[in-house]
């Protein structure tokens, strides 16, 4: 296939206008030694029909959530996506526009991002949201860099029940900078006030807490906020955005910066990405926030209008003095989030959250009838919980898989001491029949 439209006659006319004999002359600045003297070693071109056949073959060689019932979580979840989200977000103006630098010609995107920012503030209980970041783990790392810039301190305290990918990304980001990471260990799936109290000191820039944490357990964010604030540290909460309609919002529990992954809000899992990271903060920290910000203002005629604002924070102005190198947002995915939240609305999202909670607890309850399986932790949870088994995690998961069920995520790769456990997520999509089948499959091992 070719996506160019210039004909041979067009090319001839253009070369004549330029005043060169052939296209090669336009590349004369590239010295012969730098040139490739053979064709690229890539597969031959495909027609559209052939391309569709190839991609259909590749897509068909996977087992999707349509083929096996998904109880997998651990940072990405099989939530329901209303058709209207796909239909509206695939409008080609949204898909094929660039960052809305030219406000007059980009009001649609700018207004959508302003609405997104407002929706994230509503959900998190914060005062300011940016227009999104890459995804949840990098958003948490950016929040730590932001806390460092705010406090001028050089330590960060992280719960060991923060998702391992988030902690790994944080370690990668901080490797090059003079910031020390202190890890607080958990007891029964949660960190404890005394553990946190021992870890914070007057050099702690931030405390990073995830709730529900990687095990699905709810942390006592209000208590931890008080401890962190007592030491003058910034509280960064990483949250599941759907839990925020049922549970007190992190902003109401003392968080200063709230981050997370917005994938549950209308974004397909797509094998892990692209997703959308959100970040919201208290107004006093607004000017230290990374990423794009959209603001409301007026045009010359006094009409309400929207534009990118506070750009003096950003890399293209600050260059080497910037505290983040983030260039754009996850525009189309932030748009999906805005559409999803508007479609669900106050009642719809509350219903989704209740269904997750009810179904997860129904599934967990089932474990009490099974021998060789039990809830690993007693802490309260929202939609995800850890199951301990005496029957061998790999064997259990393989058996369920043979019954058409992805029963959970093994925890051995993440936590050595949880080699006998797996993580189970239950969203509003799971039916009672599917949960019963999951329990039955477990019982057969």
């Amino acid at each position: 296939m070719q996506y160019t439209q210039l004909t041979d006659a067009d090319v001839r006319h253009m070369l004549d206008t330029i005043g060169v004999r052939d296209i090669g002359e336009l590349f004369r600045d590239i010295p012969p030694s730098a040139r490739l003297d053979r064709p690229l070693c890539l597969p031959a071109p495909l027609t559209e029909m052939e391309l569709l056949a190839d991609l259909n073959r590749l897509a068909g060689n996977n087992t999707s959530v349509d083929d096996a019932v998904c109880f997998l979580g651990g940072g990405m979840y099989d939530h329901f996506i209303p058709t209207v989200v796909d239909a509206l977000a695939s409008q080609s103006e949204f898909v094929t526009a660039y960052t809305p630098y030219q406000a007059e010609a980009s009001q649609g995107a700018l207004q959508a991002f302003y609405e997104y920012q407002t929706l994230i503030c509503m959900l998190t209980g914060m005062e300011v949201s940016n227009a999104s970041l890459y995804e949840g783990a990098t958003a948490a790392a950016e929040a730590v860099l932001m806390a460092r810039a705010i406090t001028g301190r050089r330590g960060v305290v992280v719960s060991s029940a923060v998702h391992p990918h988030t902690r790994e990304v944080l370690a990668t980001y901080l490797k090059e900078l003079p910031i020390d990471i202190v890890v607080v260990e958990t007891l029964d799936g949660r960190i404890r006030p005394e553990g946190l109290r021992q870890a914070v000191n007057d050099q702690t820039a931030a405390v990073l807490i995830q709730t529900p944490n990687v095990f699905g357990c709810l942390e006592s964010l209000d208590q931890f906020s008080a401890i962190a604030h007592g030491a003058g540290a910034i509280v960064i909460a990483s949250v599941d955005p759907i839990s925020c309609v049922l549970l007190k919002r992190p902003g109401d529990l003392g968080a200063d910066i709230v981050v997370g992954d917005a994938q549950p809000l209308g974004i397909p899992m797509s094998y892990g990405g692209p997703s959308c990271g959100f970040m919201a903060c208290r107004e006093q920290f607004m000017r230290k926030m990374p990423g794009r910000l959209v603001g409301a203002t007026r045009d010359r005629a006094g009409r309400r209008a929207f534009c990118l604002t506070l750009q003096t924070r950003e890399q293209h102005i600050r260059r080497e003095r910037a505290t983040s190198n983030i260039c754009t947002n996850q525009g189309l995915l932030a748009l999906r989030v805005a559409i999803y939240l508007s479609a669900m609305g106050r009642r719809g999202l509350a219903q989704v959250a209740s269904m997750c909670l009810d179904k997860a607890h129904y599934a967990a309850q089932k474990l009490s009838d099974l021998s060789g399986f039990e809830l690993r932790f007693q802490a309260p949870f929202f939609k995800e919980f850890v199951v301990r088994t005496t029957k061998g995690v790999d064997r259990v998961l393989a058996h369920c898989r043979s019954r058409g069920i992805q029963a959970g995520v093994p925890l051995a790769p993440w936590y050595e001491d949880l080699a006998d456990s797996f993580l189970v997520a239950v969203t509003e999509k799971r039916t009672r029949a599917e949960i019963d089948a999951w329990a039955k499959a477990l019982s057969e091992v």
């Binding site: 996506y3 103006e93 607890h361």
Partner: protein, 504 residues
């Protein structure tokens, strides 16, 4: 192309659109959810009282049709590649093939959980494995990682790899050089990677000043981050010398791949001395820009640097199956959750497969031809600070200062002709940076040239039209100063509704 002049024609088609919060009707909902089929959990028993919300947050409530109208109207208030010529220099706003959207949306890709067993993911793993190879081959480098989320994220990954390489040799090199024409992300990346960015001067002809480079490279230098062709749209023929100067001091050459659209299949970075580079799939491989994202920023490295790449890395096993290999002790570690911007990478794969080696080469040939053609058509009407030939983009300066017309006025006037303005005022003061890409027809290129000539004429004869442009949009120029001084970033109940001040 419309011949719109001064007066708004769009008011009926794109009226002011209220915020979604101003359209809320209590009780409305665009989604129907099934009734509960499990017994409800006893909320007070399973969740501690102090963590329970009293009421859900005040999200908007709206029916499905009004929701559709709202976002459709917003879509109509937006220039896009599908609707408009978009010669935004440095951003490669080429056509985004529809078939790529179709394949990326296949349920066999979108419905995959990242932690499902490898055996259930062989199709997507094969695709990623192949793409990894394609990107290494196009770069002329040994290996690529697909993990970085965007170009800037790729830069960060690249500089971390360079740091890890020097550290593995027992060295800590604090300096990174960037030409003064570099993208703003380059120096910002150095800072977030704990390096000092040091600027290298350009010569009057837009190329790197080798004397200045020699002066600044030493044993403290980790790398030079170069864009070639550079941001002025010029290929630097000294590239091999530049690489040699760096390598002689043990420093590496990093390529910002923003301008790869100019050299696909013609020259490979690895063949002209580059050690590490990133791609922007949303520029070079036509994945859509989506109002700012998602993009992807794969990074490729030379032989000997593979062990520093982030992990996990997709591999083909001896038995022919595909899987993830965990990184070794020298890897920089993970730069994001899971594996990468998979949905974006599927589109890049489809693009490369559709075009093949000859098609990719033609992409760059026609991108460069189109840029040079536009430059030739405009050379009498605007000032060109650099001599041709240009790569896939070029810089020109509107010189209408005596009429009080700036580059901003020219750019805003283009909007009236349904053309998205070029990049402005960078990397040369007062310039326009124009990148037509290879996918535009001659008719569109000619239309743009004629419009630019007309605007040059207007600048001399009726400059006030330019000062007040655009005239055809739902809003006129904005008060950006107040926006920054008194930021309003979040709607509140008290926010004044649109029509209160709408005096049209």
């Amino acid at each position: 192309m419309s011949n719109a002049s001064e007066k708004s024609q769009g008011a009926g088609l794109v009226p002011a659109e209220k915020l979604i919060f101003e359209q809320t009707t209590p009780g409305a909902c665009a989604v129907s959810l099934p009734v509960a089929d499990v017994p409800p959990a006893d909320l007070r028993k399973v969740i501690p009282q102090e963590l329970l919300a009293e009421a859900p947050p005040p999200l908007p409530e709206i029916g499905e049709q009004d929701l559709v109208r709202h976002y459709t109207r917003l879509a109509h208030r937006l220039f896009s590649v599908d609707g408009n010529f978009y010669p935004l220099g440095s951003c490669t706003m080429k056509y985004n093939p529809k078939v790529n959207e179709r394949v990326a949306a296949l349920p066999g890709f979108t419905g995959l959980h990242p932690l499902q067993p490898e055996a259930d993911s062989q199709g997507i793993l094969e695709l990623l494995y192949q793409l990894r190879y394609f990107l290494a081959e196009i770069a002329g480098l040994a290996e690529a990682t697909l993990q970085p989320c965007a170009g800037a994220h790729g830069e960060m990954t690249g500089v971390m790899i360079i740091n890890a390489y020097h550290r593995s040799r027992g060295e800590d090199r604090p300096k990174v050089l960037t030409p003064d024409t570099a993208h703003g992300t380059n120096p910002a990346t150095c800072t977030v990677c704990g390096r000092f960015a040091i600027s290298v001067a350009s010569r009057p002809d837009g190329r790197v000043d080798l004397d200045d480079l020699r002066k600044k490279v030493d044993e403290q230098t980790a790398a030079l981050m170069i864009t070639n062709p550079n941001t002025a749209g010029l290929f630097d023929p000294q590239i091999a010398d530049i690489a040699e100067i760096l390598h002689a001091k043990g420093a590496l050459l990093y390529l910002d791949g923003a301008n790869m659209n100019a050299i696909l299949g013609i020259a490979r970075p690895g063949d002209f001395g580059v050690d590490v580079m990133h791609y922007n799939t949303h520029k070079t491989f036509s994945t859509p820009h989506g109002c700012g994202g998602p993009g992807a920023g794969p990074v490729a490295v030379r032989e000997g640097l593979q062990e520093f790449l982030p992990g996990p890395q997709v591999v083909r096993r001896e038995d022919g199956t595909y899987g993830w290999a965990w990184p070794g002790p020298r890897s920089i570690g993970r730069v994001r959750s899971f594996y990468g911007q998979i949905g974006v990478l599927i589109r890049a794969y489809a693009y490369i497969r559709a075009l093949g080696p000859e098609g990719l080469r033609q992409v760059s040939e026609k991108a460069v031809l189109s840029a040079n053609y536009l430059a030739a058509r405009l050379r009498e009407h605007y000032r060109f600070p650099f001599a041709p030939p240009y790569a896939h983009e070029f810089i020109m300066v509107p010189e209408f200062r005596e009429h009080g017309v700036t580059e901003l006025d020219v750019a805003k006037r283009l909007i009236d002709f349904a053309i998205h303005p070029p990049t402005m005022s960078w990397p040369v003061a007062h310039c326009l940076m124009i990148e037509p890409t290879e996918t535009e027809s001659l008719r569109t290129l000619d239309g743009f040239a004629e419009t630019m000539i007309r605007i040059a004429e207007e600048a001399r004869t009726t400059p006030e039209i330019l000062h007040h442009a655009p005239h055809t949009m739902p809003v006129e120029r904005l008060d950006e100063v107040t926006a920054a001084r008194k930021p309003d970033l979040c709607w509140r109940e008290s926010t004044e509704p649109a029509e209160a001040a709408d005096n049209t």
